[in-house]
Symmetry: C3
Subunit: 450 residues, 3 copies
């Protein structure tokens, strides 16, 4: 847990009991539709967490030994994790996991190689209890709303079950259409066909394809979605005069790599235009080069810790989109970067000008005490606070959600106490900003007000 | 106002009463030649300040409502500004404007939506008083010298009037020839012709064009100019063996984009060579991509908050220039960046080697408490302090000049107190450096000693 | 000397007496094979130190006046240095030299223009004493191991003499084959021929060339080398299917610049594969653009302060190498950058995934209090501490070695005390990490355990 003192402590206290607004993350909606208990400590804390297993892999632990791409005794996996617990000194993973063990699971014994079995047993005993099933935890965590991230081709059956059921938790989908927009995706052709089948639109024509996208957006919105999400390695947007022709080349498999990139750049603008129409907030997560380790991809699949950030040019990359729709007061776009040099250089000046832009919180590797400090240091003086989008936990580790929001709120308090100390503004303004940064800005940026 | 404590306070006290040296900015020389009163609070504090109106625009306020590109009641504009005052929390604009209201205009009431009318009235009452006319404020601000920035085609009539008049204030021009050097400028051809008319040189030939530039530089110098200023988005310099031929292609309108870039790169070297001859200090402001919002440019014109920084490669970009004249002890070039990643990586090592180079102060978005802290953190260990160029206020908001120098001096004091605290050097050295950073380095870098 | 307080002081005290492990630097092995006294204070402290003379050159002091490329009275050189001592305020050079004068040479008088002669005399008197000869200082400095950096074509005679002699100091070579791997080197062709002569291999064939490289690596390893070192401006690695053909084009002098770059990219992968075989740790120092000042290069030669960093793309640049050998548990590669924006964006995520990668310490311009603080701030949260390679002094200034390690250990203590203060971990963990960062991580990363 991040320790605080004086004014920071007081500012934090003013936010700690506020509800959790989680507008972007990767929880599985099935957890909440079925409310089945979590399986075991390794499946809960180690195997699905790429922050954890990538670090062990970096120090020579085979992924198979962690139950990834292979069967493994969960207790043995947990012991192996505990044996390498020192690797996490100084990382947010350690802070989050300590928070989960102590505050969520009530285990006072510190994790160590020696305590691995005891802690494994205590977690396992908790997981079978009703008060540790997903819905009970959701309520105990005081989650006001939780957005998942769902493929454009997802049938949203779990979201429908939640919506139609008696449970009152607000779990909403997010429209993530990369697979049907980005021709670099190996499955693009098949995805387009499936999109046609799902929607009943004729995706053999560009107009039908657009109509299918509109149909799916509406289906997501009907289940509570307020946002879309888009991933792109090299930011590029460009309005094509004849996208129909290129769409047909893509369907015939005769488009060049450059044309594929242009098409995706065009489709991001189409998405922005649809956002103007239907009000869905557009998220763009840029600059992650995916699957850089070919052997790991081939053997273990995606999301195995080998996605590495690259430098991003937001200014030239977004010009096509912004110059077409960026002045529209209905549009809202939230930008996420892993290239921190763009915070002060590009994103803060852009968000401090364009009415449609908000800067997303520190993402992935930078959702951490020093990362958050660098973020505020870089963006606030140019963009102010009201062009920020509050916090995302962005996690697939459900138990870590309170830990991540808590770390954010503590780090916000440290930042704001520093501002008060430097004379930037007074304590009253800081108290209000602390609450805005904890919940209101996220509600506002994502149009989540009930 | 930035609050200080202990040693920082003492270091600041040693500099606060020093005169203001303002070697680069965008004040209008007509203010000082005519000494007419400022019009009204909105025209003084809101309408000309792109830091202010871009932030309001980013939160959905139409520029027309702020009296930009449209008529608006200044009191209504001021109310609208006050209604959005919370947007500026954490920004230097808020610090500057608070300083202006309190220290320059003597208004103790804090700005808020409720106090907008009262403050508007009090400012308006001040502006009609003789002691709030430009020359009186110039003297009260204790400005030793103020440089404006003037087109190469400017007739400098206001500067002549100041020079020939009885008033003793030192207001000097700066030679800004972008429009007659950069063929990417849409007016380039017409500008060259006008340059010929103004100077009586035959700018239909390359030699006549160079002679015209020399003539204009001399005219600026005769009115006190000690510097030139050059803007470039992508830094590139390259010595051409036959610039005459390319010049003729440009005049005939048949040069490619690449050739235009090469020509501007050549002309920057010509400027450096003329600087060796006439001693004018060369400023290069690089990496701002201008007018990225086409609709705002078309509707409202330039300088409306849509200039956004991009990444810069100073090393390869300046090689042509430096390898031609960079070892000349007569040459002085001051470099300004908006890409802070270049401070430690490129500018500090370059300024720590080349005799001609100085690093300009934090520019534009980074003229702020955290921006200044990052600047010192990034440059000093490699370049030392004596390769820095002191401070620029770089403002078109005349009233904010003391506020900006004050914020710089406070931030310098915080930095130096930190150095003393860390044991980098003692208090005596810090006191001397504080004075150098406040005034001496600017005087020295810009050759402003009287 | 960097001043410390409270917990930082205590953490530093736990490391100050530890031996010095110096796995990468540029000392001359002849110093230790001959044990001849150092010549004079200027030859010791000024003339060979590019950190020092580049700063004087940047402020108008001709290199000739410093005895570079010209004869100069060492006393006059030392006076000139002292006369410009104020230029070094805020730089690590000042901290190092103050440390050398006070702690190594026992001179309490502060350096100043007035004390230059006195200090010159006192140093000169020390240098003729036996206890100031290289081996005596090596022992007094408590150096456990010192690695030099040696051309692949070096006969290693001084290393052999040290190895075969009675003196017990551990001085080891490092294999630096740039000149025989990089076809951009003007001497590449001659170097290949000489490589053939030295090894008795037929370097007219690609297989013979590879065999010659293996032979030389073995010769270095036999004299204690544990590492290789590679410099590259623009990181690029690429496995060629027919390197033999390109090798012959290179020998015939008909390869393009692009092909030369490809060949070097291929050879770095060959080096990595040889490292898998022979266990030598691979160091890559990237992103320094060498000799950017053509006149200085021509007049004074290499390493004269005009090497300037440029932006680096580690992710795409290393993909060829990593996807061929990066998952091999035998491979160890240490990466050094001068582009600090790559620490958090690229190097920490890469080192936090690939088993072969470690992040080298802050290099060159960034081996300084603020540089070290930025380094820890940027890398630890993603890579942890165990993916770091400890410290390098990387110096050709032998006397500064203790100063540099001392500054590192103080800066480590400041960082760790901050972590304890923020609640990242407890004091016991910090104490252990302090020792790891001082010596163990370097021993481990470079396989220097005895």
């Amino acid at each position: 847990m991040r320790s605080l003192s004086g004014q920071a402590e007081a500012l934090y206290e003013g936010t700690r009991a506020l509800p959790i607004v989680s507008p972007h993350g990767h929880c599985d909606p099935a957890w909440f539709s079925t409310d089945a208990p979590f399986a075991n400590p390794a499946d809960l804390l180690v195997i699905p967490d790429h922050y954890v297993f990538r670090m062990l892999y970096s120090q020579g632990v085979p992924l198979e030994a962690l139950g990834i791409g292979a069967k493994a005794d969960p207790r043995v996996v947990f012991r192996l994790f505990a044996a390498h617990w020192h690797l996490f000194l100084g990382t947010p993973s350690r802070i989050w996991i300590e928070h989960v063990l102590r505050d969520t699971l009530g285990i006072a014994t510190p994790l160590s190689p020696a305590s691995a079995d005891e802690i494994y047993d205590r977690i396992a005993q908790s997981l079978v209890r009703d008060d540790h099933r997903p819905r009970a935890l959701f309520e105990r965590f005081n989650i006001e709303v939780l957005a998942t991230t769902d493929s454009a081709l997802d049938d949203l059956s779990h979201h429908s079950l939640i919506r139609d059921g008696k449970w009152g938790g607000r779990v909403i989908p997010t429209f993530r259409p990369d697979g049907v927009l980005d021709p670099m995706d190996a499955e693009f052709g098949r995805n387009i066909e499936q999109l046609g089948r799902i929607t009943g639109c004729d995706t053999a024509t560009f107009e039908g394809y657009l109509e299918a996208l509109r149909t799916r957006r509406a289906a997501f919105a009907a289940l509570g979605a307020t946002a879309t999400d888009h991933a792109i390695e090299v930011v590029w947007t460009e309005w094509l005069s004849t996208p129909e022709a290129l769409f047909q080349k893509l369907r015939q498999g005769v488009a060049s790599a450059q044309e594929k990139r242009q098409f995706y750049g065009h489709m991001l603008i189409e998405m922005a235009q649809m956002s103007v129409e239907d009000g869905l907030v557009m998220q763009i997560h840029a600059g992650s080069r995916r699957n850089t380790n070919a052997r790991v991809l081939q053997r273990f699949g995606r999301d195995k810790g080998a996605d590495i950030p690259v430098a991003v040019d937001w200014v030239r990359g977004l010009e096509g989109l912004l110059n077409r729709v960026g002045n529209d007061p209905q549009l809202r776009i939230i930008l996420f970067t892993l290239d921190e040099s763009t915070y002060a250089r590009e994103l803060a000046p852009m968000a401090g000008h364009w009415p449609c832009l908000r800067i997303g919180p520190p993402w992935w590797f930078h959702d951490s005490p020093a990362g958050i400090a660098r973020y505020f240091d870089s963006v606030v003086e140019t963009a102010g606070y009201h062009n920020l989008a509050g916090f995302n936990d962005d996690t697939r580790a459900f138990l870590s959600i309170p830990a991540r929001h808590d770390l954010w709120r503590r780090s916000v308090a440290v930042h704001l106490a520093g501002q008060v100390d430097r004379g930037a503004f007074g304590l009253e303004a800081a108290r209000e900003l602390a609450r805005w940064l904890a919940v209101d800005l996220a509600r506002d940026a994502y149009r989540l007000e009930v």
